[in-house]
Symmetry: C2
Subunit: 256 residues, 2 copies
Amino acid sequence: MSYKNSNIVQVEKLSINKLKWIRNLHSKKFRDSEGFYIAEGEKILREIVAVDPSSINFIVCTKTTLEILENYSEFDLFIASPNEFERISLLKAPQGILLVLKSKISAVSSLNLTENILVLDNIQDPGNLGTILRTADWFGIKQVYCSKNTVECYNPRVVQASMGSLFRTNIIYGDLPEFLSQQKLPIYGAMLNGQSCYSQKIAKNAILIIGNEGNGISKEIIDLIQHPITIPGDGNGESLNVAVACGILLSHWVKS
Amino acid sequence: MSYKNSNIVQVEKLSINKLKWIRNLHSKKFRDSEGFYIAEGEKILREIVAVDPSSINFIVCTKTTLEILENYSEFDLFIASPNEFERISLLKAPQGILLVLKSKISAVSSLNLTENILVLDNIQDPGNLGTILRTADWFGIKQVYCSKNTVECYNPRVVQASMGSLFRTNIIYGDLPEFLSQQKLPIYGAMLNGQSCYSQKIAKNAILIIGNEGNGISKEIIDLIQHPITIPGDGNGESLNVAVACGILLSHWVKS
């Protein structure tokens, strides 16, 4: 199928300038200054269209994927050769659909301060952040407050690992000590020396803090935690992966 | 510090042949035929020495890490230049300690068939398998039976993600339908349409099956599951990461 035979009215060839601009979005600095980021694949396209189509700036496809895009004719579409597509894609096996999306990190004022807030303190691994967003979405946690030093949620590995949950979650980045000191909800924190999560329930409306992969919750906010909480182990394992630990605590929080 | 001043008696320069042999261990085929695999870093060294020092074939270090290795003088030690070390390391930021270990996948006969067995059906992502082994170890699950098409547990990313749990777990690879059809313990399987894990307990001694990342549990063994079990969600998330789902179910299994 050639794109000349396509039913899509608007399909332009990807220009060299646009290709370079997209490649620049691979870097965090450029994403920050431009206010756009990249997501890839048909599944993510479907999810963002369902939740927040206005954040799609434009879409890049190849001859092979053009047919799929005929169902999305309301968006600006550019076509790239397989070689060009490989240069803009961040995947090892590019899927031929790349979205350029508007960044939409929320302001603190958008938070509902009487409902559950998951707080992330210095999460560094993009795969972990993406998996945590995916898990929070599963359990209906709609608000995630990240410390300033938490990995950027528009990092391509976060976008990919979050499986669309990024678009459905209200994500805030800000000054964690300042934010926590002003909150009225009870504050729980995942720690090694807290009360067992099997004997202590997490309140229906609360704040739960998950700390850094290696170092846990940072010193600056330890004193603000009213309820340290622990997942006790039975074996010899030294620790749990942070996304797994978060999943277990979210399960207890929402379901117990 | 020069290695000539070292207190270690046995420290040989890494030969080109040995370097090439280690590089070949980067491939699964060669690992399979040779019966050895690679692990890296001081932390893993400490863990394997604590659990199973006899599986260490030899260790490679650099001038910078030689001092650390003085505490492990019972093992054969080879020293590599930074350039050589980069060629044998699989890490982006090599840590200067590389272990060559004997593969020790267990036989089915080593299983205690009256105790908890975690069964993995076609887990494909090495990070997921490593994280699952780490979580099982945390909750004291000592036996993991993997279907033949599950990713190799000596894949370097599995070794790294398991954080030493690989060495403390009895791991078997085999014919899953045949194995399951012979078991007397109750068989639970993580499925989308099972009974809620919040209303159904998993028996104290049981088999729990976790399926593939995208496709779940394979058709061949569905009929052998007596208790399908589900983690119900509250939000819009389409699915949970398999290692997170496994963590939540293991928490319920061992602690409820």
